[in-house]
Symmetry: C2
Subunit: 221 residues, 2 copies
Amino acid sequence: MDSEINTLQQLKHQISIMGGYVEKALEEATYALIARKVEHLDNIDKIEEKINEIHVVIDAACFKLLAKLSPFASDLRLILACFKMNNDLERMGDHARNISLGTRMYLSRKEIPLEKDFLQMTNEARWMVKAALDAFVTKDAEKAQKVLEHDDVVDQLKDRLTQQMKDLIKKDPDFVESGIDLILFSRNLERIGDLATNIAEDVIFIASGDDVRHGGIAVDG
Amino acid sequence: MDSEINTLQQLKHQISIMGGYVEKALEEATYALIARKVEHLDNIDKIEEKINEIHVVIDAACFKLLAKLSPFASDLRLILACFKMNNDLERMGDHARNISLGTRMYLSRKEIPLEKDFLQMTNEARWMVKAALDAFVTKDAEKAQKVLEHDDVVDQLKDRLTQQMKDLIKKDPDFVESGIDLILFSRNLERIGDLATNIAEDVIFIASGDDVRHGGIAVDG
């Protein structure tokens, strides 16, 4: 499969495919959780296998393209950004899998009616992943910027949900298992949002060469 | 500062310096938590600033070295591994900071006598970080392999601690805040352990060119 990746265009295409798998895994995991449909978790292991496979393939392709093309300037930026995005996407897949594994337990526990904060958080995280990938495909630095702005929203929702669950458990300790599950799900969604901002930063880096992380610390490189 | 990184030796040296900062941040955060000494948290923001600064510098240096040297084979492997390790170390720093921020709250809450599982987990995570960095400096693939073997230990300790905390909260819901804090700390320690295994995998990749992730899926690259 790696032998098919001989151009930067093909590399970008593989990143998009991988991004599609991650979106699908996240969609299935969150749908199973919210709609309480455990059968939607069955596909996730298979999607995860594909993500792991393409992860290794893309890394090897980046190595090969760097050795073969000796790229500089924008081509080098693109390959390095793909190399990073590949890792970030794989981690998103891991978080989707964490949600999936947790959901199997969660659905057997005392049910907590899901508040709109949790639903909004799920939607925000999914939107961030989709928008970051769209920004990559269409080279849209403005859209990438919007993804960065959403990071705080997810963080605030996570904090609110955590407090709600603590209050609920205090009132009725029988909710300890499902309440802590929801806190951990919200942590996974927050991390997925963080990783989407990494991708958005990479899109800005590809487009402009600017490193916007950590408030854009200047380097003389 | 980046202009000082002109050779692979200098690049490796900077990674070691960054690793030292991460070890220090983790040491201070876990000591403050276990010994209940909040003043040990005061240095962490400064260490974190240094980690963020060196993170951007190392990324820029990798870019520059790739453009300047057009490396292949083992030199290319080393630069790409440093590029990855740089990101993994920065994330470890984030997790140490999460523990630090959480500890400030935790120390004001109802005290839970720390069980030996939690102390062991802290030691395991710190050992994994140190051993992975040592393996990198001394190019010791055998030591890196040992780091990989410790990942399961940390995972099991985390699962045990999580169950202990749930049981404790069920018995006495006044422990909900501090109990959930400890569960989240154990999550951060587990992630630090995961990131140490990433570095160990990179050390093996530098030494052998083998990609041992995901069970070593074969690629024809």
